[in-house]
Subunit: 186 residues, 2 copies
DNA sequence: AGCATCGATGTCAGGATCTGTCATCACTTA
DNA sequence: TAAGTGATGACAGATCCTGACATCGATGCT
C-alpha cells in the first residue's frame, strides 16, 4: 500500500465516467479527471496508456471469462460447441450490470475515439477466442473462422441487450443471434 | 488549379508511405511528411483528419465498389447472394494491387494506431454493407447479420491474400472463406 | 485591361495528449 | 534504525491537432 487513498485506478475510472457524462468526452481533459480523483495527470497515464482506456477495464480478466469456459468444455465438444460454452459463461457474468452498461454505452456511442476503442476490444476478443480454440487442438483456420463468428454473435447480442430498456437475458440473446447467424449463412 | 504543384493529397500519401517504410510510423512526424511533400503541417491536417488517415484512401469510392454491386444484384437475389455479388465486385477491383497491398500492409501491421484504423474501416464496411442490403428491402436484423458475415469473409480472405507471396485470386479466396464460414456455422 | 472573388495554402498561436526523468514519501524488511 | 521498494508528484518537452487570419494565383465579370 502507498501513503495515499487506495484504488487510484478505480477512482480515476469513476471520475472519468462522471465527467464524460457531465460535459462530454472531448470537453474533459485528462487533467480534469486526475484532479477529481485527487491525482495528477502523470498518474493517470501510469494507470491507463490512453485517455480512452479509462472506460475499458482489465482486459485479461474480461477475456478470461470467455477463454476459461472454452478451455474447460468437454474434450469431445466441436469448435462451435466449445465457443458456445465460452459465450454462455461470459454473457452470464453480465447479469445485473445492465444499468451500468447502458450508462457506459451512452458515453461510448457519443464519441468516436471510444467507439474506435470498442472495435479494438472486439478484435482482441477474436484473437483470444481463436487462441483458446487452438489450445483445444482446433486448426488455425477453423479457429479464426469460429472465433470471428463468436465475436459477431456476442457483439450483436450485446448491442441488442444494451438497447433494450429492461434487462434481458444476455446469454439467451447471444444464443438466438448465433442461431440467426447459422440461418443467415445457410 | 492552384498556384502550387497539383495533387497535394497524393503527394502527402506517397511521402507518408515512404517515410513510414524508411523510419517507421512513430519516428515520422506529420511535419516530416509535409516537408517531403513540399507542404506544411497545417495542409496535411486539411487533407487528412488524422495522421493515420494518410494510408487509407477515399472511403466513399472504396465502399461503393461493394454497395453498387449489391444494389444492382437481381431483385430476386437473397441477402447472402446480393452480398456475394458485392464481394465479387469489390475483390475484383484489387487485381494487380498485390505488391502495393503487401507493402502497405507491412506498415499497418507494424503499428498499433494503423491496425486500429483498419478495424474502424472494417466497422464502417459493415455499416455500408448493412445499409446497402436494407435498401434492397432486407430487414434490419438480417441485414446486420449478413453484413457482419460479409465483413468477416472479406477480412479473412484479404488477410490470406496479403500473406501469400504470389498474387492469388482474391475473389476466389473470398468465396472459399464464405463457404468455410457456412461450414463452421453449420 | 482591370477588378472582385474564390479556393488552396501558409503563418502563427495555442491547447491537449503522452513520455522521460528525477525527486519525494510512506511502508516494508532486515 | 537504516536501506529498499513502489507509487506518486513535479517538471520539461515532443507531437498531434485546431482556430484564426494572411497570402497569392486562377477565374470570371465588366
Amino acid at each position: 500500500m502507498g501513503r495515499w487513498e487506495p484504488d487510484a485506478r478505480g477512482r480515476l475510472a469513476q471520475a472519468a465516467l462522471e465527467l464524460f457524462l457531465e460535459r462530454g468526452y472531448d470537453a474533459t481533459t485528462v487533467a480534469d479527471i486526475a484532479a477529481r480523483a485527487g491525482l495528477t495527470e502523470r498518474t493517470f497515464f501510469r494507470q491507463f496508456s490512453d485517455k480512452r482506456e479509462v472506460l475499458f477495464g482489465d482486459p485479461a480478466a474480461y477475456f478470461a471469462t470467455f477463454t476459461d469456459a472454452i478451455a474447460s468444455a468437454p474434450a469431445a465438444a466441436k469448435p462451435l460447441e466449445a465457443l458456445s460454452a465460452g459465450l454462455d459463461a461470459a454473457t452470464a457474468a453480465f447479469a445485473g450490470m445492465h444499468p451500468y452498461a447502458r450508462l457506459r454505452q451512452s458515453v461510448i456511442d457519443a464519441n468516436a475515439p471510444l467507439r474506435e476503442r470498442e472495435q479494438i476490444k472486439r478484435a482482441h476478443l477474436v484473437d483470444e477466442l481463436s487462441e483458446a480454440l487452438r489450445r483445444r487442438g482446433v486448426a488455425e483456420s477453423t479457429a479464426r473462422l469460429t472465433a470471428e463468428l463468436g465475436a459477431v454473435a456476442f457483439h450483436l447480442a450485446f448491442q441488442r441487450w444494451v438497447q433494450a430498456e429492461e434487462e434481458l437475458d444476455l446469454t439467451a440473446l447471444t444464443r438466438e443471434v448465433l442461431a440467426e447467424l447459422r440461418a443467415a449463412a445457410a
